[in-house]
């Protein structure tokens, strides 16, 4: 998480909206951040290719459940991927637009961090692998909740080969489960994980860095082959 630290520290409560659409589902939550993280309302679920229909109503729903108007929000945190679904952009642009309209900062975090930091148990080594589709996974390695390697995109077999050397205490994520990695446990991004991934930026009101999607892949497109210009014999 990049960004410069502002001088003024805020000791109050930062009411934060957390959003992630990097996986097949949608994660939206309202979180009260003090020295502790308290999730006031959270929605998780929805299927792939439905992000566009789901996010805005889910934001309205969690705000209503938490008993807050949008104007009460003081910050937005959003997962910036990696994510294979076109929906990744839905969460990011929703967060950017909400933050602009409300005049609050939007902090981007790695969506894999939001999985690792959403776990109850995070001491030792954690491998997070999400579904990258096209028979690949996005993965990263964490030591006591700190990302020490990744994020990568690659074949499940390639990650499987790496696992013994990593001596992971746990392997989590939809990608790990989908490809039957040893000891795989399902886990996804959570509102608490997103806020934790933003770290001290929220309470200390760092200036946010511009949101950049982590695609890890180039667009599929073939560049035009050079063609001999006509008009010459």
């Amino acid at each position: 998480m990049a960004g410069s630290r502002s001088v003024a520290a805020n000791l109050g409560c930062v009411l934060t909206l957390a959003v992630d659409t990097a996986t097949a589902g949608v994660v939206v939550g309202v979180v009260a951040v003090t020295d502790k993280v308290r999730v006031l309302a959270e929605r998780r679920g929805g299927g792939p290719a439905r992000h566009g229909e789901t996010v805005a109503p889910a934001v309205a729903a969690v705000l209503a459940e938490a008993g807050h108007a949008p104007s009460n929000l003081a910050a937005v945190v959003v997962g910036t991927g990696p994510g294979p679904f076109t929906g990744l952009r839905v969460g990011m642009v929703s967060a950017a637009a909400l933050a602009h309209a409300l005049g609050v900062p939007a902090y981007g975090v790695c969506s894999l961090d939001a999985v690792a930091l959403g776990l109850l148990e995070r001491t030792g080594t954690t491998v997070v692998a999400t579904d990258a589709r096209r028979r690949e996974v996005y993965w990263a390695v964490y030591s006591d909740g700190e990302q020490i390697e990744g994020p990568h995109v690659g074949s499940p077999a390639g990650l499987l080969d790496r696992l013994p050397g990593l001596a992971a205490d746990r392997v989590v994520g939809a990608g790990a489960v989908l490809y039957d990695l040893p000891g795989a446990v399902d886990a996804g991004p959570t509102a608490a994980g997103l806020v934790a991934a933003a770290g001290p930026a929220l309470l200390d009101r760092w200036l946010p860095a511009p949101l950049r999607a982590a695609y890890l892949r180039r667009p599929d497109a073939v560049e035009m082959a050079a063609r001999t210009p006509a008009g010459r014999p």
């Binding site: 996010v55 805005a56 929906g87 952009r89 309209a101 409300l102 210009p229 006509a230 008009g231 014999p233």
Partner: protein, 344 residues
């Protein structure tokens, strides 16, 4: 009483557009185009376009607000293109629009991109006359519409059965070794060529063809065959004559059918919109044939013909004035949205 301030958001193809409109008054029209990123691919790559929309959305919004000298809180309603268009591109604009509507607590209208191409002319030439025949021609669409009420009643008379008119320009430019996009370069070269040099076919103009449908793939193939023939003969390709003759065939069919529609439906006003409306021969020939037929011609200036946010705001203004029900936050984009469906 002043008209409401309408914010329009457009992301159906490769332009990120944000416009601000009050009634028929254009206050701001900010557009960020990703066309340069598509040049090396020789056409629009949906994933490249969608990535560019995400990056450009909020900056373009800032630019539009600055241009108009208004704040977001001044906005009374938000309109956004719900379709037709590229699925991934539409998702970015609609998600942004939903968030702005939610945060500002303003009504949201998902509207039809084709209808917006028609509505935009009110910003330049005032209220639209009704009924109206509209010819929409661009890289993505070619349709002939009968507009009875731009907020409520638009019907498709015909459309292309294969390539869009702008797509034909791109493909012919490509086979002549000319850069993408093909429209402007062919227009420029055609000015120095003879439009009657080569008799290229006029597609879908036979007695048994649908009166208002178009086909341009046969024309493109005819140009390709002709160019191959010259190449085989080892002769130099007369690029300006090919450009002029091809452009003439396109302009001829488009205007012929549009005026036939005016005649048959007893309509005295023709509007031409979409990016290809910037083509000089299409404008000139339409002007000539409209004058002969006693039909009034309306063509917005080129900047309003290509995709932009002002056109979406312009249709939004008509839809709000007509008292339409706002769209719900869970509306889905509709990449194949028919023009008969003006709002979602």
């Amino acid at each position: 009483m002043t008209d409401p301030l309408i914010l329009g958001i457009e992301t159906s193809c490769d332009e990120t557009g944000v416009g601000l409109v009050r009634g028929n008054t254009l206050l701001a029209d900010a557009v960020a185009s990703s066309v340069d990123s598509h040049v090396r691919y020789g056409g629009i790559v949906p994933e490249v376009a969608a990535r560019a929309h995400l990056e450009a959305m909020v900056p373009t919004m800032h630019r539009a607000l600055d241009l108009a000298g208004v704040r977001l809180s001044d906005v009374d309603a938000i309109a956004v293109t719900a379709g037709p268009g590229l699925a991934g591109a539409l998702l970015v604009g609609t998600a942004a629009a939903k968030s702005y509507a939610l945060a500002l607590d303003r009504p949201l209208y998902g509207v039809n991109h084709l209808g917006a191409h028609v509505a935009v002319d009110a910003l330049e030439h005032g209220d639209l006359p009704t009924p109206l025949v509209a010819l929409l021609v661009s890289g993505g669409h070619t349709s002939l519409l009968l507009v009875n009420d731009i907020a409520r009643d638009v019907r498709t008379l015909g459309a292309t059965v294969d390539d869009a008119a702008g797509e034909a320009f791109d493909k012919v430019a490509r086979l002549l070794g000319l850069p993408y996009p093909g429209g402007p370069v062919i227009d420029r070269l055609a000015a120095g060529g003879d439009p009657s040099a080569i008799a290229f076919p006029r597609g879908m103009t036979g007695p048994r063809d649908a009166a208002y449908d178009f086909s341009f793939s046969g024309l493109k193939t005819a140009v390709a065959r002709w160019v191959e023939g010259i190449e085989r003969a080892g002769k130099r390709i007369p690029v300006t004559d090919v450009a002029a003759s091809f452009q003439e065939a396109v302009a001829d069919v488009l205007t012929r059918k549009a005026l036939q529609a005016c005649r048959e439906h007893g309509v005295a006003d023709l509007l031409i919109g979409g990016g290809v409306a910037a083509n000089s021969r299409l404008r000139a020939l339409a002007g000539l044939r409209c004058a002969e037929a006693g039909v009034r011609l309306r063509v917005p200036r080129p900047g309003l013909c290509t995709d932009n946010g002002a056109m979406v705001a312009a249709l939004g203004a008509r839809v709000v004035a007509a008292g339409a029900r706002p769209s719900s936050l869970d509306f889905a984009t509709d990449p194949g949205m028919p023009v008969e469906r003006l709002t979602v």
